[in-house]
């Protein structure tokens, strides 16, 4: 297959130019201008960006146990539609992914029915209960790429310290969801003027920052690889910037919704804007954007968190936290952050491909001869409107409903095989 005439952007090599990509046997065989070799199929990429397959390292696929919200099949189809070639899925399923057989089960279902690659993040503690370490060694052997109790914070600092030490020996990062349970208890949105106006129970910003500070201190002491999920406060950014300057092995991600929305999105009590961690202030949003541009935050990850419509159509304090994001992430990052001048095209591509791969030590994230052909084509000029009912995810809970976005993935290739072209998912 020949991808012809696109603008190839590859952060690993610094390549940015009009090149053709020849794909054979699932790998990139040649990457050069005006390739003349014959190919069984030609993909016209003129006007589009050709980038390393986008990797979303924070996705909730909900299977097993919560198949009314999402399934591995539907979640990976949403990823393919969103231009994403690989996802790392979180272990807060029912039961939790906290053992080697569970890891293998998810991998097996993903191989059978997944539209894109699925990497499994195992639970840090048994049952995600925060009391005893899960069998991380066996899970690592079964293929778990990282460990996390995402959705909950390990509130026992001694246990978190042990978890970091244990995972470190296995060569796996720990992904921390940072929110102090006592400060966040009962909260629905970020504490501040908007929560006060709406009369909703607030979660103070320091609910995140005290745990970020704690976990950074533990990473500093143990030397373990710590990855901070979905940062949401300016103060967290300051702590991470200082820690990185001092050589602490910590990385961080941010979600598109924290880069584009503030607590004002809750005005009118939109349940799609109820997310964890909660949307912050404009100051937080600007600090997160700067941190991403400066490399203090490594990657953008969607925290795709689908829920059934009837679950979200409840009293706001009863409705579950979370927003879907697989199908809007690339438009927001590659389209809008670039057009707003926050990121260069090269930085934007790195934030959704090379950097997330490096954060979790995953293959991919590069376009080079010999690499596996995971490739995303993105049309930076295509305008579209986010319509919840047209999403491929089973979740309809997008806080961007009705937004007119400019920029859209137009092809998704996994291992040399097109799984999406012009918005149409392609079956086996």
């Amino acid at each position: 297959m020949l991808i012809r005439g696109g603008r190839v952007i590859d952060p690993a090599s610094g390549t940015d130019g009009e090149l053709d990509v020849l794909v054979e046997d699932g790998r990139i065989r040649r990457l050069a201008a005006l390739i003349r070799e014959g190919a069984d199929q030609v993909v016209d990429a003129r006007g589009a960006w050709v980038l390393p397959g986008a990797i979303d390292i924070h996705v909730h696929l909900r299977e097993p146990g919560q198949e009314h919200k999402e399934r591995i099949e539907t979640g990976t189809r949403a990823a393919a539609a969103g231009g994403i070639t690989a996802v790392a899925c979180m272990p807060n399923t029912t039961p939790a992914i906290d053992s080697a057989p569970m890891v293998s089960h998810v991998q097996q279902v993903a191989r059978q029915r997944g539209a894109v690659r699925v990497y499994v993040i195992g639970a840090l503690t048994k049952g995600r209960q925060g009391h005893e370490l899960a069998e991380m060694g066996e899970m690592a052997e079964a293929g778990a790429v990282a460990f996390s109790d995402d959705g909950d914070t390990v509130m026992d600092a001694a246990l978190m310290r042990s978890a970091l030490l244990y995972a470190s020996q296995l060569g796996r990062p720990v992904v921390a969801h940072c929110l102090d349970a006592s400060l966040a208890r009962g909260g629905v949105m970020r504490e501040g003027p908007v929560a006060t106006r709406l009369g909703l129970p607030g979660i103070p910003a320091e609910a995140e920052t005290v745990i970020v500070a704690r976990d950074v201190a533990l990473a500093r002491a143990t030397g373990a690889r710590l990855h901070l999920a979905h940062l949401s406060t300016a103060e967290s950014v300051r702590i991470v910037a200082q820690a990185r300057a001092e050589g602490v092995p910590v990385t961080a991600e941010v979600t598109p919704h924290h880069l584009f929305l503030t607590d004002e999105a809750l005005s009118g009590y939109d349940p799609a804007a109820k997310v964890n961690p909660p949307l912050g202030s404009e100051e937080d949003r600007q600090a997160l954007r700067r941190a991403l541009a400066e490399g203090v935050i490594d990657a953008v990850a969607s925290d795709h968190a689908p829920h059934a419509p009837e679950e979200k159509a409840a009293e706001l304090d009863q409705a579950p936290f979370g927003a879907v994001g697989l199908e809007t992430m690339l438009a927001l990052v590659l389209g809008h952050l670039v057009r707003e001048g926050v990121l260069t095209p090269m930085q934007a591509v790195a934030a959704v491909s090379l950097r997330p791969a490096q954060v979790l030590g995953l293959p991919g994230g590069r376009l080079a001869e010999g690499e596996v052909a995971d490739i995303t084509l993105f049309d930076p000029g295509a305008a579209w409107v986010v319509e919840p009912d047209r999403l491929h995810s089973m979740g309809r809970n997008t806080p961007f409903a009705g937004w007119r976005l400019v920029g859209r993935p137009v092809a998704t290739m996994v291992g040399g095989r097109l799984v999406m072209r012009d918005g149409q998912l392609l079956g086996e």
């Binding site: 504490e191 003027p193 929560a195 006060t196 106006r197 009369g199 607030g202 159509a313 009293e315 706001l316």
Partner: protein, 311 residues
Amino acid sequence: MWPKHLLALEELEAGDIRQILDTADAMRQVFERPVKKFPTLRGRVVVNLFYEPSTRTRTSFELAAKALSADVVNVAVAQSSVVKGESLVDTARTFESLGADYVVIRHASAGVPHLLARTIRARVVNAGDGAHEHPTQGLLDLYTIRRRKGRVEGLNVLILGDVLHSRVARSDIWGLRKLGASVGVAGPATLLPVGLEALGVRRFHRLDEALEWADVVNVLRIQRERMQRGYLPSLREYRLRWGLTEQRLRRLREGVLIMHPGPANVGVEIDEAVLTDARSAVSEQVTNGVAVRMAVLYLMAGREREDGEAP
């Protein structure tokens, strides 16, 4: 045009609020007639859907709707049926199918009236949602101030106590600010929410200073469970530091107006002698509540006729 629903005073214009207060004046005169009824809502069904117990507000809405000749259904939804799994939206749709034209909703969660207004065709009146708003209480407070002081504009109104958890405080703040009053709050720092300054509210840290400033003092109820979450050390200490006690009453200015949305914890946030003092408008607030709620329903019925939905 008068809004379709009454969800929050935040959403009303000053002119709308004045129109309600003027209409309430007319409604009060109905009580002085031998037949205390208007035909405005004849043939219309008003459902009082209360997810929290409230004798006072529920009765007030019931009397107001009946005085306008509506058929009134009172529904007290016990917590148990929430546990049984019938969702709020299902319940509201059921009553709509049974012919409800107006749903008066009281709920412990902020935003529930907005959720209903998005979901059902009936007109929604917020009778208190979580710590968000209690717009008819705010209106009756404004009405009471206007009757007693002759005006709202230019007055200094102090809201004293648990502002953090108070829907009354928020409706009062919006209504008072829109009608040109100055608003101050006082209470323990743990019970004053952040960002009140954004609503144009002044914060007092000493009660004596606040009381010297105030033309009107609205005393909020203190819930006993506030100690369990660490907001307060004890009710005793609350009374000593922030209670409107008999001793403090003596230091208040002669013309000060004292209000309380009720029901009061006598001996905690307010003393019996203060409630019964000539400067207290607490019992008048209750009477005014019916007139104000009649005014709200009357104006909503007018909007309904404009929309062409009247029978």
